[in-house]
């Protein structure tokens, strides 16, 4: 029962993504063709407000629900890992029009074939885990 809060947060995220058409393949296509400001506006405004929130949390020492300090783990610096991994992700994002959030929300929207995308993404993650040590990081 203590996990219901995560369910409700996810529910809100699913509604936002659907109502703002973030889950639409067409909107992602438009974004990569620079034909519409919509997606840039969403990501941009989320980052600006999110940035202010993170700054505020750090400045005030705002605690989590359980009274613990909120930690922001600095990611380990590397160029090849983020650049190559990012490019591979981008190639797939432009094909499916769905990143790992929207692909699930699309299933909820009734697009059952998206389960194939989800399964393939799980498979891609699995193969990464297998070959990981042989890749530049």
């Amino acid at each position: 029962m203590n996990k219901i809060k995560y369910y409700l947060a996810g529910l809100m995220f699913g509604v936002i993504m659907t109502k703002a058409e973030v889950i639409s393949w067409y909107r992602i296509y438009e974004m990569f063709k620079f034909q519409s400001f919509h997606m840039f506006g969403i990501i941009g405004s989320a980052v600006v407000l999110g940035g202010l929130m993170v700054f505020w949390i750090k400045k005030t020492g705002f605690k989590s629900k359980d009274g613990m300090p909120i930690h922001f783990m600095p990611k380990k610096m590397s160029v090849p890992r983020y650049l190559i991994g990012g490019i591979i992700f981008g190639l797939g994002w432009a094909m499916t029009g769905a990143c790992p959030g929207p692909m699930f929300t699309l299933v909820g929207n009734g697009f059952v074939a998206m389960l194939v995308v989800v399964f393939s993404a799980v498979l891609g993650t699995f193969v990464y885990g297998i070959v990981k040590d042989r890749l530049p990081h």
Binding site: F89, G90, L91, V107, V127, G129
Partner: protein
């Protein structure tokens, strides 16, 4: 109520996504969706094949519950919060996509010719869904995160690695959209 049923503009959706991220931070969790794909591998027994999947997946159940919420949210939004109006697309995009054999007439959020159930029986549909999904899963884990983890959470924390990843997302996305999709969509 009628206003809620309209598509939401960016300046409503973007800040609301930031609020979701903040709520998750308040719950003591990081907002990132692709980690769930790794958890699913671990649940499926992938730990037998790679050390990368040997972790206590029970500690990640909260994130799977979040995913369950996003599925329900998609259902509720499409079923009860939609006015059923067709998706608005510019004429330029419509003629461009139609020339590539992608349907825009249905008015849905996805082209049926690419992601409908029937598309699973076409070479083009299989390539788009299977290869596309594979690249998303492989790339997200290689880069250590996806749009939510890097573009939203990481950039909000001014992390340079996340900025590099997002630049990568766009290089890949532009390569695909401008050079590869015109070939793949003609399969």
């Amino acid at each position: 109520m009628e206003l809620i049923k309209e598509p939401w503009p960016w300046y409503v959706a973007g800040p609301m996504i930031a609020v979701v991220m903040f709520v998750m931070l308040y719950f003591g969790k990081n907002f990132g969706m692709s980690a769930n794909l790794r958890t699913m591998c671990a649940i499926g027994g992938a730990g037998k094949y790679a050390e990368f999947f040997n972790f206590d997946w029970r500690s990640q159940v909260w994130n799977l519950v979040f995913v369950l919420g996003t599925i329900t949210g998609g259902y509720l939004a499409s079923e009860y919060l939609s006015n059923g109006h067709p998706l608005q697309l510019s004429e330029a995009i419509v003629s461009e996509l139609n020339a590539l054999g992608v349907d825009t007439q249905g008015g849905g959020i996805l082209p049926e010719s690419l992601f409908g159930v029937d598309a699973l029986f076409s070479l083009r549909g299989i390539v788009m869904m299977v290869f596309g999904g594979f690249l998303v899963g492989f790339g997200a884990r290689y880069a250590g995160g996806c749009t939510s983890g890097h573009a939203i959470s990481g950039l909000s924390d001014l992390q340079v690695p996340s900025l590099i990843a997002v630049v990568g997302f766009f290089i890949g996305g532009l390569l695909m959209t401008f050079f590869l999709l015109p070939i793949i969509l003609r399969l």
